[in-house]
Symmetry: C2
Subunit: 216 residues, 2 copies
């Protein structure tokens, strides 16, 4: 079972999982600005992987709780700035815990033994819930909070990679980068200026691989 | 911040939290059979505690994921049987992790320093996500997955109590038991026969305190 946002990291993670397993794919709507665009990517990527089990869940309560410029249109998105060291305003409080909890619930029902998430610690945006030690702690909670025979493992195969390593790995595995979406701002043509676009462009540039999606 | 289902354990937990703090109250709809009835209890209990911050969140995706007779009307509820040792069909996979994750998100946004949950390990129904070691592991995930300055603590003040101790403690603190609801089956008059009613009746009986709600 792979949590698939529709971005590069989760799509490469799906490629990695698909090497050895049939994949079930989960996408989460949580009131993020580019919800509709992500959903298109999710459907196309799920078709690419011929995923028979696919599920889109509504976690819009995260948008109702608020606290993030990613879900609150009245808050400005930060200007793209990869040198910034603080936690940016796009941080959705404890988002990955909410997504993982839902994913583990579904995994337990369908009998999946692994929950993959494409979180990245290095080279990412400084969100606390993207760190390896968060996932290790959550794994403990999963082991203790589910049926003993469920034995669900949380797997984060790209967490220690740089973004450019992820792109290179994805290219080796034939990841459909043309179907992915990263931009926080636009839904037709990527802006190329928000944090997410800047990270993506830098990764493809460093990997020496052309990014197949269009930019303004 | 107290997770308040509207049952006895969470209401006593709210009484304990209200001893030392202003309380913010969170209720979660997740497609449970008695959603409407629980919501009435939540509103009345929130009025009792004069909670200015109160929030009802929709986690109905738990019902969509399924896997429980508590959310799936096509699955029979188990006959009341307190001697049963296995995990009953009312177990909603990883429910408490989902509720806690949402609660921590809200706590981080409103600046609450504690998230209270009225889970009970002993004397409860054998759900794996009601055990103290699950909450300890989750606390670690919270510490690592939120803003470092948030410092949110997960508090489970009744987890080691028996149900009758909880009732006695609640009576000492003036808990409004008449506003609580426990029955899995009915919404007007409690059935007195489901697991949840049997546990409640046994607890009041052992505590030597009359249960003020009506039964069939």
């Amino acid at each position: 079972m792979v949590c698939l946002s529709g971005g590069v990291d989760s799509c490469v993670t799906a490629s990695i999982a698909a090497q050895t397993n049939e994949v079930a794919l989960l996408h989460v709507n949580y009131g993020q600005r580019t919800e509709a665009r992500e959903l298109i990517s999710f459907g196309e990527i799920a078709d690419f992987f011929k995923a028979e089990k696919r599920l889109v869940l509504n976690l819009n309560f995260l948008g109702i709780i608020g606290g993030s410029s990613l879900t609150d249109e009245s808050r400005a998105l930060p200007e793209g700035d990869l040198a910034r060291r603080d936690i940016p305003s796009t941080y959705v409080p404890f988002r990955n815990a909410n997504i993982l909890a839902a994913a583990v619930s579904w995994a337990e029902v369908i009998g999946a033994d692994s929950v993959y998430m494409g979180a990245v610690e290095e080279d990412s945006s400084g969100y606390p819930d993207c760190r390896a030690d968060f996932f290790e702690a959550f794994q403990q909670a999963v082991a203790l909070g589910t049926h003993p025979e469920s034995k669900i493992t949380v797997v984060t195969p790209v967490i220690d990679m740089s973004k450019s390593e992820i792109v290179r790995q994805g290219a080796r595995l034939g990841t459909p980068f043309d179907l992915t979406w990263s931009c926080y701002r636009d839904e037709q043509i990527a802006c190329g200026e928000c944090d997410s676009c800047l990270l993506r462009l830098k990764a493809f540039d460093e990997a020496g691989i052309p990014d197949p999606i269009p930019y303004w």
